[in-house]
Amino acid sequence: MTAETPTAVRVGMARRATAWVTAHLGLVPFLVYTGVFLGAPVVMVVLGAFQDNDGVFTTDNITAAFKDQFGRSFATSIELSALTAVLGAVLGAVLAQAVLASKEDGILRKVVSSASGVLANFGGVPLAFAFIATLGSIGIVTKALKGLGFDIYASGFNLFNFTGIAIVYVYFQIPLMVIVFTPALEGMREQWREAAANLGATKWQYWRHIAGPILLPPFLASMLLLFANAFSAYATAYALTSGVVPLVPIQIGSLVSGNVVADQQNLGKALGLGMIVVVALVMAFYNWMQRRASRWLG
């Protein structure tokens, strides 16, 4: 062993290097793919946010992205996402609990879980149309209420503004909540309730001191996910309002589809960077909450 020649050492090193590469070879296709189709576009957005049209470094886009109409669109987007996240989370949790109380392999559960999968993922365009048919100016509910002598459009309601978008967003937020929160509810052990009852706890005490504290982290985590979901949504708001309500995704959309002067190309990227930062913060918080939650609900 001590008399090992330099060549043998080199061969050994080369062999180890090859061994390392071959050992990690399985990851190469995945990393190359995500690098090209996810990494590269994101890098271009970030770089573009800090460049003017000639590629010279500038922070003008960033400052412009948080001023005036663009600053207001961030406020509107955040407000809308927060409102629909809270409504969706509360209503979705109630629905999930009501469904879980039904028979385990019953038809109700399967219908609700399939419908949730469809409505949460497939939402967008069809839902916008469904609501136009319901609460639009000639929608069925609008007409029915008018028949009863209550003209909602005359009293200030409008499907195509903030309130309207919020109502439609809640429609896909609830199903998403059902999907992400149901596992947490399923993780609640029946024994915990029994143990509490045996020790003389009332129903309220059980919820206040046992179920509540355990379910709070996953509940908040789901709410954050709903926030990110609403914040990124583009299709629904666009199909519904053709871009009248200034939300950040809509602004970016009109900047890239060239509805504005050409020298604002990189402003869209700056807005995009702002969105990534907001969602990244929310998701970091989400991960932290999830980790807390998984301590109890394995």
């Binding site: 990851l27 995945f30 839902l127 319901t134 959309g253 890239v256 969105m275």
Partner: protein
Amino acid sequence: MSKAFRWLILSLFGLYFLVPLAASVEFSLRDVNDTHSFNTWGKLLDEPGLFETLGTSLWVAFGTVALTLILMVPTVSWVHLKHPKLRRLVEGVSLLPLVIPPIVLVNGVLVVFRDAPEVISGTPVILVFEYVVLALPFTYRTLDAGLQAIALPTLVEAARSLGASWTTVLLRVIIPNIRSAVFGAAFLNLALVLGEYTLASILLMNTFPVWTVSTGQSEAGVSVAVSLLALFVAFLLLFVLSVVTGRRKATLGATQGKS
């Protein structure tokens, strides 16, 4: 929760979710002068663009499903089998699209593939590549959970010691064992592609959702009708899937209970 109260809640939710759907049905049946007819549904088949765009969306969907499975099944299996430590890395990268809103991603895509060959950037091929990315978070979670649930090392060792090649192991041992995860990933990929509007519209690809929106501006009835149809078909697919996998789980549970 008392039974009556529970049913009250369920009915209220049912109403909230069904009224817009019922309204859509009514809307699609409307005819001139406050009458109703099947006119809109009848002329769906002659609608210009419907079949072309639906065809485009379907081949994009199948391309996406195929590419997703080809890329992700080997990667996730390999990580599970050989490098459990790298799971966090693959998971992190796979969940990244959750942080990047599609409207932002498409902004970068426009820049990166501006000078790419026409075949990639000028045809829906680019959509296939990017939809695989959009579907990554869900695909990863589903496949990861599927592989977690089986005794992967034992199965693979057994197959290898009997002389099976890695391809055989993948196709005839791993995939059949995680087939409900594979089906789940495939179906949600399909649903995603058939409903995706943001990327397709900004990249000026005439897919089914894009056609639905542009038709809606002139013929609202038609786009409501096709939207309903798409929603219903997607629901049916998922429902059948949940019934089938549910039954499989039930039989598995029963056999395990007996042994």
